[in-house]
């Protein structure tokens, strides 16, 4: 099994199929759709194989031993390049307990988004090739272990997204696409600057054979820092690590998004077509949280621990502020967008706890948020397809007309605000417990508990206004879920209940990694102190 380069396959299969899709004549829309669906099904199968072959007992964080399904080849290798010496970039892929759940999530969400794209009928070819390109970018971010490679995939995500919103979006699509692109590009620039700084401050190998490195694992080893001259090296007394940490955090925070960098999200969601909203909320927001845990924390352990309170503060602001803003929204899509802001606050709070419980909760919350929010956007898509409306006050009493739809929505809503027995409860519980255990974030966790109330408030209020009460006569004839929609919602509802009742398959994957990360952080912190 391990002979096959599974990670390369799952990442580049969509790219290969972009070519195939481009060869299909534009007139054959269905053929294009079927081809794209086939890719995502293949990816699902591959991720199933990965899950099957995953070794739960592997421990460690950002060490060579902790990664599985590793593929490492020399990619770019230029010798005697003036003062740089050897310029070396590896094609280095691997997954551990942090990235594996997100890979499963990505393949699932992209699969559902493809099904949901069936209703796209303008420039089908362009849409699906961009969607496949996006797919490669997202997968690549989660599997690459070389910062150079990571950054390429990171940027690869932006471009298709820009066009997908800008061409297939709603009335204000140009504005939203531009805002999304520029905003995230600002983040990317910050990230790039720090990456280059890191590259020039660390050397892998010893003595004369040492070279500057983009290798994440070598960078995670503080001892590889250059003693003199590396301005992001721990050993340089005049290092700029403090600013680099903040720049990197902001860069990733924009993607999460964290208050006050969140305003691109509601606009992008409102204008994006349903499948793109699904991908955006389901996967793209996780890139930020993933980046913080994968890159910021192991590379800047001292500030990660010292500044945890601020990370947590922004998490709490996200939770409360997002929930309050969500309650006032009239557009359901905007409401869900703000609820995403609120739910991603839990990720920040869990990360800020800097302990196994909190960080596992944060990763699990990313996974769960992907599932629940994807279903929420798909659900909005269902009524939007039928009525071309999505105002909270445009409906009323839909429960009498669309009982199954109402049932699915009920489960998704209650899962979102953390009803026990459904998935998000477990992750929110872990985040709260982790944050409460850590003395730094204890008070923050107490304040964040308001989110439990506020979350229920805006979702139930929406339930009440959209689904209950007298049926609005205009919508008396609405049809309940179609077969295609059944296919979309069945796996989502199943996963929401399954991981609510039995979260261990995912948690057992996450906790060993987070456990090791915690020891890495605390060991280093104690060392510094």
């Amino acid at each position: 099994m391990n002979e096959l380069p599974l990670l390369t396959l799952i990442t580049f299969l969509p790219l290969l199929f972009v070519v195939i899709v481009l060869l299909i004549p534009s007139s054959k829309g269905t053929a294009i759709k079927v081809t794209s669906l086939a890719v995502t099904i293949l990816q699902l199968i591959i991720s199933g194989v990965i899950w099957y072959g995953y070794n739960y007992s592997a421990a460690g964080f950002n060490t060579y031993e902790s990664f599985q399904f590793v593929e490492k080849f020399r990619w770019i290798h230029i010798e005697n390049l003036s003062w740089v010496g050897t310029f070396k970039v590896d094609y280095f892929l691997g997954i551990d307990g942090l990235s594996a759940p997100l890979i499963f999530l990505t393949s699932l969400i992209v699969f559902l988004a493809t099904i949901s794209s069936w209703s796209i009928n303008t420039s089908v070819k362009g849409f699906f090739s961009l969607l496949l390109l996006l797919n490669t970018g997202m997968m690549g971010v989660f599997v690459s272990l070389d910062l150079f490679l990571f950054y390429i995939f990171w940027e690869l995500v932006l471009l298709p997204m820009f066009f997908l919103i800008g061409i297939w979006g709603g009335p204000r699509k140009e504005y939203s696409a531009m805002k999304f692109f520029i905003y995230t590009l600002v983040g990317s620039v910050l990230i790039l600057v720090v990456f280059i700084g890191l590259y020039l401050s660390f050397r892998e190998g010893s003595g004369n054979g040492s070279v500057f490195t983009f290798n994440l694992i070598e960078l995670s080893n503080i001892k590889n820092g250059i003693k003199d001259g590396g301005f992001l090296s721990y050993f340089n007394p005049h290092n700029l690590r403090y600013f680099a940490f903040i720049a990197l955090m902001i860069g990733f925070a924009i993607k999460i998004p964290v208050f006050p960098f969140h305003t691109w999200l509601p606009d992008a969601h409102v204008e994006a077509p349903t499948p793109i909203s699904v991908v955006l909320a389901g996967v793209l927001l996780k890139l930020g949280g993933y980046g913080i845990l994968r890159i910021v924390y192991p590379l800047f352990p001292e500030f990660s621990v010292q500044l945890a309170w601020f990370t947590g503060l922004f998490g709490v602001i996200n939770i409360i502020y997002g929930a309050l803003a969500a309650m006032a929204q009239e557009d359901i899509k905007k409401l869900i967008a703000y609820s995403s802001v609120s739910h991603m606050g839990y990720v920040m709070l869990g990360i800020a706890a800097v302990n196994t419980t909190g960080m596992s909760g944060a990763v699990f919350q990313m996974f769960n948020h992907g599932i629940t929010t994807a279903s929420l956007f798909l659900l909005v898509g269902v009524i939007y397809d039928r009525t071309h409306l999505r105002g909270v006050n445009d409906f009323g009493g839909l429960a009498n007309v669309m009982p199954v739809y109402t049932g699915v929505t009920t489960i998704a809503f209650f899962a979102s605000f953390g009803l026990p027995g459904l998935n998000a409860f477990v992750s929110e519980l872990l985040v709260y417990m982790g944050a409460f255990q850590s003395e730094v974030t204890r008070m923050l966790a107490l304040i964040a508990l308001l989110g439990v109330l506020l979350g229920a408030a805006y979702f139930l209020w929406t339930m009440k206004r959209v689904f209950f009460g007298k049926t609005n006569e205009k919508w008396g004839e609405l049809k309940d879920l179609t077969l295609r929609e059944w296919i979309m919602f069945t796996p989502l509802v199943f996963l929401m209940i399954f991981f609510g009742v039995y979260p261990s398959p995912i948690l057992n994957m996450i906790t060993p990694s987070m456990n090791s990360l915690q020891s890495v952080l605390l060991n280093f912190y104690n060392l510094v102190k």
Binding site: S360, V452, A457, L460, F468, G469, T471, S504, L507
Partner: protein
């Protein structure tokens, strides 16, 4: 007899409703009468729990079994914070009895519902939700882990939410279900904080382990206030779930749900879950926390009972009465008598479920629930009237009813508390509650059920007339139309009422109704040490009527109580009767004071008309802030960039590009000048060639 048998029976009883739920949920739509499956599973659950109860009390009266399976585990290398959430269950006398009570009421309500809900298009949804609720409630009872308890705590809230809003087309039901869930969430937040406090301090969710730590003097935050805080936080959950002051307003609104639901969830079981929680958590209560519990209970008791006296909706009367009775349980609990709190919970479950089912029978027969429009029902609904009398006597605490025994105990423990502490506040509140309780029970009897000689002949003759000619069913006369349809429904309605009425008779609980608690059948199984909490955390039990050594004060309390309680009850009843005779007992809420009472001291207005709109305004403010300030800054940055780039563009156009264009201009002009040589004529070119050649030759020859 193997203990495993009892445990298996117990667990089967817990999971039977889940099976019922799954079956009817998945195939409910396909089959028309599938809801009988729920009834059958309810019956199986009841049989299992009764058997478990019998075997447990018969063979293992002194044993507590506690088992757990790991559900999710977080292992930490640091070691200090690894923990796991266990799917744990315990079997002891208390929760076996509780489970049996829940199953009895549930089965009775399921049977009742087959008639009551007959013909509803969504009947299978109703029954599957009821089964789901029973499962959640059983799960809540079955676990000693605060976390698992919290999970089921939320799930019963969810079931309650769905069932309050069962009639989805009603706007009022939609509002009520949301209110119920949100007000419960406030308390749940506090409960959750309590759980977190316990977790960080004791690293466990298991309440029995927490007791051990507390008994060893290991207090949260190392101080007594920590224990107080923990107790009050856990009580916060109970306050909202049991609709206690100040989070009580959701319960009257919850009456929007079908009446059997109100009987099961909002009278007998779910709201009692708060009391149950405090009973199992009682070893955690220290003096301060216990007094808070008693005080909140006392206030709620008087609040509920006083507001119930002027309500016009028959279900709301009973809803407020539930608040008041639950308050009495908390008062007993807070004053140390855990046993009587539980005992009152049990008796109240039966007679209050009975009262709700009685009102359900009235509503089902008359399609009316406003007591101003109901009259002389005794003439038409004999069985309903008869059972109402039993239930009303029980709730008043009249002798020879179960309510007498349990209420005496409650009042006695508060009086004992007063005798020991010199603080008679709680006792006074209890007596006031008894007064109001008697008043509204008698009032409902007088207004709704009593045969009114004055207008009965006219009524009945009218009744005759109409029934003679069936076609004239919709007569113009309001009264006639009401009473024409009135007839009692079948055995599915009557039998549950009779069963509950029988369960409200004293002999099932104690032979000698005025005897000491020792003589109660259940008491020997429910002493503190039988419940696994060997020693009380703080000075809670010295006040207890039932625990601890005999004392002079206890005798005094037991002596005073029957006279005080019965006297007050009689006073209340007499007041109602006298006012009625004086024709002053009008069901209409008139007068300033009555209006205040009718509106529940305007607490509801405070929440719905002040707090809620303010909150919405605040969120709108936040949204505007987000739109114009946060996003405004972003857009301003964008605009600023555009300005700067415009300026740069102008510079570029006129300065940078200007230089380029100047060069081009020069080139152009030069080219234009030079161009003239290019005539395009061969001869001209040739001439150039010749002259150039000559020039070159001359040059070469020099």
């Amino acid at each position: 007899m193997q203990p495993q048998i009892v445990i298996n029976l117990f667990l089967s009883a817990v999971f039977t409703p889940l099976a019922g739920f799954l079956i009817s949920f998945f195939i409910g739509r396909k089959l028309s009468k599938v809801y009988y499956i729920n009834v059958i599973f309810g019956g199986i659950g009841l049989a299992l729990s009764l058997t478990a109860l019998y075997l447990k009390l018969q063979f293992f009266p002194h044993e507590n079994w506690n088992h757990s399976f790991e559900w999710l585990a977080i292992n930490s290398a640091a070691g200090s914070e690894s923990f796991s959430i266990s799917l744990s269950y315990w079997v002891n006398n208390l929760n076996v009895i509780m489970l049996t009570v829940v199953n009895i009421v549930a089965f009775v309500v399921l049977v009742y519902s087959t008639d009551y809900m007959h013909g509803d298009p969504d009947i299978h949804r109703y029954f599957s939700l009821i089964s789901f609720f029973v499962f959640s409630m059983s799960g809540l009872i079955a676990s000693p882990s605060l976390m698992i308890l919290y999970i089921f705590w939320e799930l019963v809230g969810f079931a309650s939410y769905k069932l309050i809003g069962f009639w989805r087309h009603k706007d009022s039901a939609a509002a009520a279900q949301m209110k119920a869930f949100l007000m419960n969430r406030v308390g749940d937040m506090m409960f959750f904080i309590g759980i977190l406090i316990a977790l960080i301090h004791y690293k466990t969710f298991d309440i029995t382990k927490i007791f051990e730590y507390v008994n060893q003097g290991n207090l949260p935050f190392g101080a007594d206030w920590g224990l107080t805080l923990l107790g009050i936080m856990i009580f916060g959950g109970a306050v909202s779930k049991s609709a206690q002051f100040p989070l009580q307003n959701w319960l009257p609104d919850a009456m929007e749900g079908p009446t059997p639901v109100s009987a099961l969830i909002h009278a007998a079981t779910m709201v009692a879950a708060g009391v149950y929680l405090m009973i199992i958590a009682s070893p955690l209560l220290n003096g301060t926390a216990a007094y808070v519990v008693a005080l909140i209970g006392g206030i709620s008791a008087v609040y509920g009972a006083s507001v119930a006296t002027v309500q016009t909706d028959i279900k709301k009367i009973f809803a407020y009465s539930t608040i008041s009775q639950l308050g009495m349980m908390f008062a007993a609990l807070g004053t140390g008598s855990v046993y009587f709190a539980f005992f009152h919970l049990v008796t109240h479950a039966f007679f209050k479920a009975g009262l709700f089912l009685t009102s359900g029978s009235v509503i089902h027969s008359t399609h009316e629930q406003d007591i101003r429009k109901l009259k002389s029902l005794a003439a038409f609904l004999p069985v309903t009237t008869a059972v109402y009398v039993v239930f009303a006597l029980a709730i008043c605490g009249a002798p020879f009813t179960s309510g007498f025994v349990s209420k005496e105990g409650v009042v006695a423990s508060t009086i004992l508390f007063g005798l020991i502490n010199g603080n008679y506040l709680i006792a006074a509140l209890m007596l006031l509650t008894s007064l109001f309780t008697a008043y509204y029970s008698v009032k409902v009897w007088l207004v709704v059920f009593r045969k009114d000689k004055a207008d009965l002949p006219a009524e009945s003759s009218h009744h005759h007339e109409v029934s003679d000619e069936n076609t004239a069913a919709h007569s113009d006369d309001d009264h006639g139309e009401h009473h024409h349809h009135i007839h009692e429904h079948g055995y599915a309605i009557k039998l549950p009422l009779i069963v509950l009425a029988v369960l409200s008779v004293w002999v099932l609980y104690v032979l000698n109704p005025i005897g000491h608690a020792d003589s109660h059948y259940l008491f020997p199984y429910l002493t503190a040490e039988k419940l696994g909490s060997s020693a009380p955390a703080d000075s809670l039990y010295p006040y207890s009527l039932s625990e601890g050594p005999e004392s002079e004060l206890k005798h005094q309390a037991e002596l005073i109580t029957p006279f005080a309680a019965t006297g007050v009850t009689l006073l209340g009843a007499l007041l109602a009767i006298i006012l009625f005779r004086m024709k002053k007992l009008t069901p209409d809420p008139e007068g300033k004071f009555t209006r205040i009472l009718y509106n529940g001291y305007y607490l509801d207005y405070f929440y719905t008309d002040i707090i809620s709109p303010l909150a919405v305004k605040f969120t709108q403010l936040i949204a505007l802030f987000d739109k114009y300030v946060v996003d405004g800054i972003v857009n301003f940055m964008g605009t600023l960039t555009v300005w700067i780039s415009t300026a740069a563009g102008i510079f570029d156009k006129y300065v940078v590009d200007g230089a380029v264009n100047f060069t081009a201009w020069i080139t152009d002009k030069t080219g234009f000048a030079v161009r003239k040589i290019q005539t395009g004529k061969v001869q001209d070119y040739l001439l150039f060639v010749v002259f150039t050649l000559i020039f070159l030759i001359v040059l070469a020859s020099i």
